[in-house]
Structures are given as structure tokens and as C-alpha cells.
Symmetry: C2
Subunit: 383 residues, 2 copies
């Protein structure tokens, strides 16, 4: 598409990736008068459908894409970090930078760095073959958690809990094309996520802590604020701010924490807006997406306080029969007060096709609204 | 831009016009997984910058544009109504239809229809030359309000209050290229706007009533809810719902009312999302833009209740020195809690370049925040 000569050249932001995170980030930028350029893979990528300046090219073209941008941010963990490092070496202002991204991309590296800096992480080991798993199990016992070192592809499983040697060997055989690592199984009381947004100079803010519930590995339910005490919340926020500073995060850093019987354990980090923060669109004055844009462009951050007492998001996941939840949009919109977000993606089993959020005066009410809306999109009654 | 074959064909919405109303309507549709097509005039139109499927073509191409859409809605009043009538006759589902649009487009027609149906409107007369104004002034006295029959072009004046014959002749001479009408001058206590959103079947909802203050004809300030009593608010809402039904409005109908010493008088109607409703983005569960999309696609309406006790919007208008308020984005974003909306338009004197909204627990606080943010965008202190 031709670009008018006389458009303001302020804030030339590039986003690598064009999934739903990029789509919602793009929307937030447009509100501020900024039109990000997207580095998309396919014309039907979620964000590319809704944005005018998507570029559909081979990874080799990343450098020329970046050259047109003042600041480049990365939406997902599926790009080769070597490509990003090359950009940085050639002077691209990558935010967050590869120092942060590498910690988020490579879970072995992440574990090592976190442990070396004194954070509590589960015991872990590299897995080159079955013997590594057996050795690890001898030391820490079964069950063992096997997980991919790199972020899983969307719709693919990235974590397996194996109960014995046979199961371990089966997973290793089936996933021989993937780099795996072993981790000690945690007795998880709760899974919480702290979203920090941080500017290059170090100014940072936390969002209300979110709590994640997995339902049958299918529709994840996220609620905020998490039902945890003040002391634990303060500890979690402090931990997340610490990590953001240590890794020089810029933009949103999502810190996934396990609350175990032993206390808080760092599960994973993501250096981008996160699924647990989708509810900030409706429940905070500034969404995680807008604050990510502000932060990577080194603009003042907006408030992150809760503007609603309770918020619940449920992911809308493609089902096995492969129909499109958009077909049930009328029923979902009839759920008074639920917010429906669809990403325009082709329906496939296991694929995140959208999410619904409800805010309310109490959590039960919010959850009920969100469940009704999610069920409606699947043409069924709430679970 | 090439369109992927396999994109869902549900809800093929076309928007004629690509200004900021289309831009914000587009954003709301994208949230729902819908990507509207835009009929834009220029590549740097506000909405065309932020949307992928803009069509930049001659009005003659409107028919082929419409043929690709399931439903077509119109963003502004500057298109020839004959073109729209031709579309309708050829089977395009135009929402609202030309019956509604004609009332909004042609203010003489609007006045006649309203008067014939028994609504209170100011005395008015057609103006073909100075004698018509003089005759009107003889009957109703000076000052006389002269206004354009068709909506004014953006940035152009559409209303003149003339105090005597000389002034009247001057305006007529300078505006001889425009169709003008004369109206009785009103002693206005307040200017309020009721936004109704209505589905084809007649289901309709009102937003909290907004109140408009003009500051030096420059930065308009809109606040909601309006500071009017319950009885008057009920009367205004009933009037607006009545009008929406009578004119078979679909989508947003904005009913501008004068509160005069004689009671409520209909000022103007707009059959589209309205400047007075921009604050619904932050202050209501469903914005006027999302509900416009829902209504024209005949989808269930979302709630229109206020989610904040007080909301204020101030328009950001291009100043005589022609600089871009986007240059002051950092200062504006530093106004904690203000929402900054910029439309990506080239700065020109008098042009609407954006708006700021603040929601708060009371009106004074909201107004102060909005004024600070608007002033910051102009690099000055609040008025």
C-alpha cells in the first residue's frame, strides 16, 4: 500500500509478529495517533487483518523492516534470537532488548540466570536423552515435569508431567524434534501472574495481580485481583519489579509465579503483553497494551490501578469440530455486560480464537458473566 | 491489498467515509472480530491510516464497494444523498437508510418534518436572497441565525448569528456558494445531546445525556451526565427515543437539544456516532461505536449505563500556528488518568485532531484532568 509522504513521522513503531497480542497492541497505538508497522508472516494473521501497514515477508527482510522503524518490539517467542541480535548490533532500537528477550525465550537460560541471582526456582536439568531424565528422577523423584526449552508453537503442548520411566521415554520419543528440559514437580496452591511495565529509565508499575485457573487444559480462566493476602501480594510485586530491573525489561514483563506450599517460585517470564493482562483493557485505566506502547516509546506510563473491583477473562479456544465461534456472536453479545474479543483467526482445535472479559462488583458475578459469554460462543450452556 | 480467500465472510460491514468516526468505529468492530471495509477519499484519512481494507476511489465506485458488503453505514454528511438512494434502490442494505439520513443531512427538510410531526423547533425559513432574511427578521426580530442547509465541511463555519441587515448581507455575499436557511435566535440555557442506539427491529437504548459547552467556538467541552434534573432528563430521553422510532433510525442517532427558557427545542440530528459520545469509550460498558456496529449488523446491543460517575471530553483542535499536538504527546500522557485520543490527521487550523477524555468520581476532577491534558497537547497551561 502506498504511504502518503506527509504523514507525521513521530513514533515509528515496528512490531515483529502479528498475532492477537500485536492486534491489541496495534489498537492501543492507534488510539494515541500512532500506526505501528507489523512484521507479519501471513496475510490472515490476526493483527495483519486489522492493520494497514503489515509487511508479509521472509525473515531475511527483517533488517529492512527494522530500518524503517524508530523502535521495534517483538510480539512472540517464535523468532530466531540470532536475527534479533543482528538487528541490535546494526543499531536497531529493540525494546525490550535481546538481553531481556533471551531470558524469556530460552527457559534453560532463564532458570540458570534466575538461580544464579538467588531466586527460588524448581530444580531443573538439561535433557539430551532418557538418561538425563532418569538421573534427574533419581535425585528428585517422579513425577518429573518435561517442558520445551523454547516457547511452544501456538496450539502445541509445551509441558508434560511424566509419572515414570516409560512415560518419560514415550514423551522423549514423540518429541525428539524438540529441545526439552526436566523440572521438579511443584505442589501448586495457586498460579499467579504479575505484570510489570517498565520504561527504559527504570520507571515501572505493576498491574493488579492476576490468578490463573486451567480448566481441563482448555479454557483458561484469569481473574484479577488474585485472591491472595496483602503480604504475599507485596512480596510478589516486589519480586516482579526486581526481575524487571535485573533484566532491564522495557515494556510489559509478565512474571508467572507458582504459589507452592514452600512459598513463591518463579515459573516463567514473558517479555511482552500477556494473556493474563487482557482484562486490563476493561479493568484498568491504561491497558497493558497501551502501556507497552508507551514504555517501548519511552513515553510516560498510564495508571495501572484497578477501575473495577473484579475482572475475569476466559480464553475462547477452538474446539475439535472446528466451527467458528463468530457464528455465535449474537448469543454472546446478548450476555449483558460481557466484553467479547475475537481475533479474526481461522478456527482450529486448540487455537486461541478470542477471549471474553467481564468486570463486576464482585468476582462471582464477573465469573458468571464471563462463563455465560464463553459458553454462548461455543453454542452451549456454561460449564 | 490482496484478501485471503479463507477469511470468515461473516459480518461484511462497509463504512462510507474514513474520518475519526470511522476510525473509532473500525476499532470497535475489530474488537468483535469484524474488519470493516472503508470507502475513503484520501490515503491519509484518519481511519484509512489505521485500517487495512480502505478503498480510495471516486464516488462512482460506490456501487461496486457496496456490492461487496452485507451492510453499509455512512460516517459523515458530506456524501450526495442521491448516490445513497441509488444504492438502496439496487438492494444495498444501508443502515441507517436514506429515510433517516435525509432528515439528518438536509436541515430544511429536518425542520419541516419535525414541525409537521409536532416537535418544538425554532421558527425557520428558506433563504434564497437578502429579502428572505429581512422578511424573517421583520417577523421574528434580530438577531437571526443563518446556517448552512447541508452539514458544513470539517473546519468550516456552518452557523452565523447576525445582528442587523448589514451583517446579514455580508454573510450572504461571502457564502453565496452555500445554501443557507434562517432561524430564530434561541436563548439557550444549555445544549444537551441524547444518543440513542437502535436496532432494525426497534430495540433502542439511550446513553447518559451529555452536555456541551463551547469555549470561544474552539475547544468544545462535553460532560456526562448532564447537570439537569431527573424530569428533564426523562423528557429528553423520551423525545430522542420517539425521534429514533419515527425516523426508523438504525445505529446511533444523536439528538442535539437546546434547553431554552421555553423548554426543550430540537436543534439538530445526526444519524451516526457523535462527538458528544466519544466519552462513552471510557465511561460506559459499550461505547457508542461498538453499539453502532452492533445495531447496524442487527446484533444485540450492549449496556449503555454509566460505569463512571463523571466523564469529560475536550476536543483537540488545530491551532493557527499549525503544529502537531502529537509533538506534545509525552506531556499529555504525563497527565495521570487522562485518556489521549489522536486521529493521525495533518494539523490544520480549526481541524479536529483528537480528543481527551477523563473519568473521575466527580465532575470537577474529571474536567480538571481533561483540561490539563488538552492544554498539554497544545504546549500550554490549562485555560
Amino acid at each position: 500500500m502506498e504511504v502518503a509522504e506527509d504523514l507525521p513521522a513521530l513514533y515509528r513503531l515496528g512490531i515483529v509478529g502479528a498475532g492477537q497480542i500485536a492486534r491489541m497492541t496495534h489498537q492501543s497505538a492507534v488510539k494515541l495517533g500512532i500506526t505501528p508497522r507489523l512484521f507479519a508472516e501471513r496475510i490472515d494473521d490476526s493483527a495483519a487483518q486489522a492493520a494497514p501497514e503489515a509487511v508479509f515477508i521472509h525473515p531475511d527482510a527483517l533488517a529492512s523492516f527494522a530500518a524503517d522503524c524508530e523502535v521495534v518490539t517483538v510480539e512472540h517467542e517464535r523468532i530466531d534470537i540470532g536475527l534479533l541480535q543482528a538487528l541490535e548490533e546494526n543499531g536497531t532500537l529493540l525494546r525490550p532488548g535481546t538481553k531481556t528477550i533471551r531470558v524469556a525465550f530460552d527457559k534453560m537460560h532463564q532458570r540458570r540466570v534466575l538461580r544464579n541471582r538467588g531466586y527460588q526456582v524448581p530444580a531443573f536439568a538439561e535433557v539430551r536423552g532418557p538418561d538425563d531424565v532418569f538421573d534427574f528422577a533419581s535425585a528428585h523423584g517422579f513425577p518429573v515435569v518435561l517442558k520445551t526449552v523454547r516457547a511452544a508453537q501456538p496450539g502445541e503442548l509445551g509441558v508434560w508431567v511424566v509419572e515414570d520411566r516409560t512415560e518419560a521415554m514415550r514423551v522423549l520419543a514423540e518429541r525428539s524434534h524438540l529441545d526439552l528440559m526436566a523440572e521438579e514437580y511443584q505442589s501448586i496452591v495457586k498460579e499467579i501472574v504479575v505484570l510489570v511495565v517498565r520504561r527504559p529509565g527504570g520507571h515501572a508499575r505493576c498491574y493488579p495481580i492476576a490468578e490463573i485457573t486451567n480448566r481441563d487444559g482448555e479454557a483458561r480462566e484469569i481473574r484479577a485481583p488474585a485472591a491472595i493476602g496483602h503480604r504475599l501480594a507485596t512480596e510478589a510485586r516486589q519480586l516482579a519489579l526486581d526481575l524487571a530491573n535485573q533484566f532491564e525489561a522495557v515494556g510489559v514483563l509478565a512474571v508467572e509465579l507458582f504459589l507452592t506450599t514452600e512459598g513463591l517460585v518463579v515459573n516463567e517470564l514473558a517479555a511482552r503483553p500477556h494473556n493474563a493482562g487482557h482484562l486490563t483493557i476493561e479493568s484498568c485505566p491504561t491497558s497493558q497494551f497501551e502501556n507497552h506502547v508507551r514504555a517501548v516509546l519511552d513515553l510516560p506510563l498510564g495508571p495501572t490501578w484497578p477501575s473495577a473491583p473484579a475482572a475475569v477473562t476466559i480464553n475462547v479456544i477452538g474446539t475439535i469440530d472446528g466451527y467458528d465461534p463468530a457464528q455465535h456472536l449474537p448469543e454472546a453479545l446478548a450476555v449483558e455486560g460481557a466484553q467479547i474479543h475475537l481475533y479474526g483467526k481461522l478456527p482450529k482445535p486448540g487455537r486461541k480464537l478470542g477471549h471474553v472479559t467481564a468486570v463486576a462488583d464482585d468476582m462471582d458475578q464477573a465469573r458468571e458473566l464471563a462463563r455465560r459469554a464463553e459458553a454462548a460462543l461455543h453454542g452451549r450452556r456454561p460449564l
